[in-house]
């Protein structure tokens, strides 16, 4: 495989929320939910995005506007071209028959969306700062929603909602993606309740294929050993939930 972007045409764009759009493009080839693609805008930059829709030979990525790159991305329309390379990394190991719970925080929900249809017995928890940021409201009718400001659903965090649900029912596996503090707290809950757990981590990614070392998390390369890690790995990763690495390579404490 040659690790270089190839140009593809965007075939559809959906507005999901005021700040997020989903871009659809043709893709044929194997893909595991949780894996990511590097998306290239020539002469600007290249960033990692997970797949949020799988529809026959089309894939979709949901992009939150949060910097120069994503702003430029949001200006793209159907017919425009972007560069992609991938898929990269290790995705989720789906155990379809287990009673599962998906927990998405903010844009993290995009990474989990493609596994909903593949699980037989699944509960979804989604949290955001405010109601207008909640994703896929029409796509998944039955979600346990929560917002920090109480504008929709439970007022509080996904962790609060999970704790409340666990008083009434038991899950055999939890899949999570979102802010790392959230994923860390869920890991602690899974430890206590002996629930299998997988979480998708976000790090600053440069090469995407395991040579530059920029996306390190306690000796694990998020781009190739992850981005999805199993509970047994997460427990051994001292940086998980605590430390990430900036574009310069400096270790910083998670906000």
């Amino acid at each position: 495989m040659i690790e270089q972007p190839r140009m593809i045409n965007i075939c559809d764009v959906w507005e999901e929320t005021p700040d997020t759009k989903t871009f659809f493009f043709p893709f044929e080839g194997p893909f595991t939910p949780g894996q990511f693609f590097m998306i290239w805008i020539p002469l600007l930059d290249e960033k990692p995005f997970t797949i949020s829709y799988i529809q026959e030979e089309f894939l979709g990525i949901t992009v939150l506007k949060r910097g120069i790159f994503t702003q430029k991305f949001h200006e793209k329309k159907a017919g425009d071209s972007i560069g992609i390379r991938g898929p990269y990394g290790k995705g989720f190991e789906l155990q379809t028959d287990l009673r599962s719970c998906l927990i998405g925080g903010g844009i993290g929900m995009a990474s989990l969306a493609t596994i909903v249809d593949r699980l037989h017995n699944v509960t979804i928890i989604q949290g955001a700062k405010t109601s207008s940021e909640l994703l896929y409201r029409k796509r998944f009718q039955d979600m346990n929603l929560c917002t920090d400001d109480g504008t929709l659903g439970y007022t509080g965090t996904t962790v609060d909602v999970l704790n409340a649900l666990l008083e009434k029912q038991r899950f055999q596996k939890i899949y999570a993606c979102g802010p790392e503090r959230m994923m860390y707290k869920i890991s602690e809950i899974c430890k206590k309740h002996d629930i299998e757990y997988e979480a998708s981590l976000e790090r600053y990614i440069k090469c995407g294929f395991g040579v530059c070392g920029q996306c390190d998390c306690s000796g694990q390369r998020t781009c190739i050993d992850g981005p999805v890690f199993h509970q047994q790995e997460l427990i051994r990763m001292a940086d998980f939930g605590k430390i990430s690495i900036t574009k310069t390579g400096e270790r910083v404490i998670h906000p």
Binding site: I2, P42, L44, D45, E46, K47, F209, D216, G219, G249
Partner: protein
């Protein structure tokens, strides 16, 4: 039989599943024989368990990753280069591959010497020698970074005067000339008692003169070579260069014959040891580099071709070849093509 293993499985890309299976069987079968071959080496008074070194710029960003590379068989490790101040480097794509290697223009992203000093504390936990890579735009910067890292237990200092893709550093600020090489090496010599490795460019027609200048200024070894070029890859559909910085250093298979020739020339030009780097990803490549005159070898792009345990694989393959050819130690083959 195993002599043909890499020829069969290693085709400039990753090993095929079948070849991997075969490799595992053969390595298991010859493990007892391999133990008779001595791969240990002393480089500038630094004892190494084997002659493979992680080259700078690959995986050397954190202590945790260094430890992991050590666990995967490297004899020594080089950290990613450190400057006085933090640097973000170039925009992505910063590293891409092509049919015969890799192109990179990371742009020396690093957290600066103060954060680096924190990151690389407790290096003794890693269990193998760690080499600091030190960069600067001004000659005096090299000295400042060496001083900034002086409390850390590095085993040696590497100064790459040869980067082809970062304005202000290496070739792009003329640091690879014999005069500049002499000045910078002399300044670093004053700042540290640790062994100094000067990393040179394969591009320069003055390679041997620059190496001699480094030797005269007190360098303890020459690292040969840095990436060549710069080169460029263009996406013809986008009609744009792919790398964020447009051009980048070329490494991997495309670099190997150039690197072997540089080491061959340097072996005749200097008396200090040579660390051979450039396109090494198999034991046969390593032995080729040593026959040209390298005392030890560096591996960078090989991590892409064969995984993070490329160091163990290369060491084992070297041992197999040496045993098969009647050598007890690889030291007997260093520079053998010159005889």
């Amino acid at each position: 039989m195993f002599l043909h293993l890499q020829d069969e499985g290693y085709n400039g890309n990753k090993l095929s599943g079948r070849a991997r299976g075969k490799a595992a069987t053969l390595i298991y079968r010859f493990k007892s024989i391999m133990q008779k071959v001595d791969l240990s080496v002393t480089l500038c008074s630094i004892p190494l368990r084997n002659p493979t070194i992680l080259a700078s710029g690959i995986l050397g960003t954190t202590r945790a990753l260094l430890k992991r590379v050590a666990e995967n068989g490297a004899g020594a490790l080089t950290i990613k280069s450190i400057s006085t101040e933090p640097r973000e480097g170039h925009n992505n794509p910063t590293v891409i591959t092509f049919e015969a290697g890799m192109l990179n223009a990371v742009g020396y992203s690093n957290p600066g010497m103060h954060a680096a000093a924190r990151e690389f504390s407790d290096l003794q936990e890693i269990g193998v020698p760690v080499i600091a890579s030190v960069i600067g735009t001004e000659h005096e910067d090299f000295m400042r970074v060496v001083e900034g890292l002086s409390k850390i237990q590095f085993s040696a200092i590497e100064i790459p005067l040869s980067c082809p893709h970062t304005p202000g550093f290496g070739l792009l600020s003329g640091q690879g000339t014999p005069e500049s090489t002499f000045k910078i090496t002399s300044l670093v010599r004053k700042a540290t008692k640790l062994p100094i490795f000067v990393k040179l460019s394969p591009n320069s027609p003055e390679l041997c003169t620059a190496a001699k200048a480094a030797e005269d200024a007190g360098a303890d070894a020459i690292t040969a070579v840095n990436s060549m070029g710069p080169g460029m890859a263009i996406n013809i559909d986008a009609q744009r260069p792919v790398l964020g910085f447009k051009v980048g250093g070329v490494t991997g298979d495309a670099l190997r014959p150039i690197a072997v020739r540089c080491v061959y020339d340097l072996y005749k030009a200097v008396k200090i040891p040579i660390i051979g780097v450039g396109g090494i990803s198999t034991g046969r490549h390593a032995i080729e580099m040593m026959m040209a005159g390298a005392s030890v070898i560096g591996i960078g792009t090989g991590v892409y071709y064969r995984g993070i345990d490329v160091f163990r694989k290369v060491s084992e393959e070297m041992a197999l070849w040496l045993q098969k050819n009647g050598y007890n130690t690889f030291r007997d083959i260093i520079g053998v093509v010159h005889d």
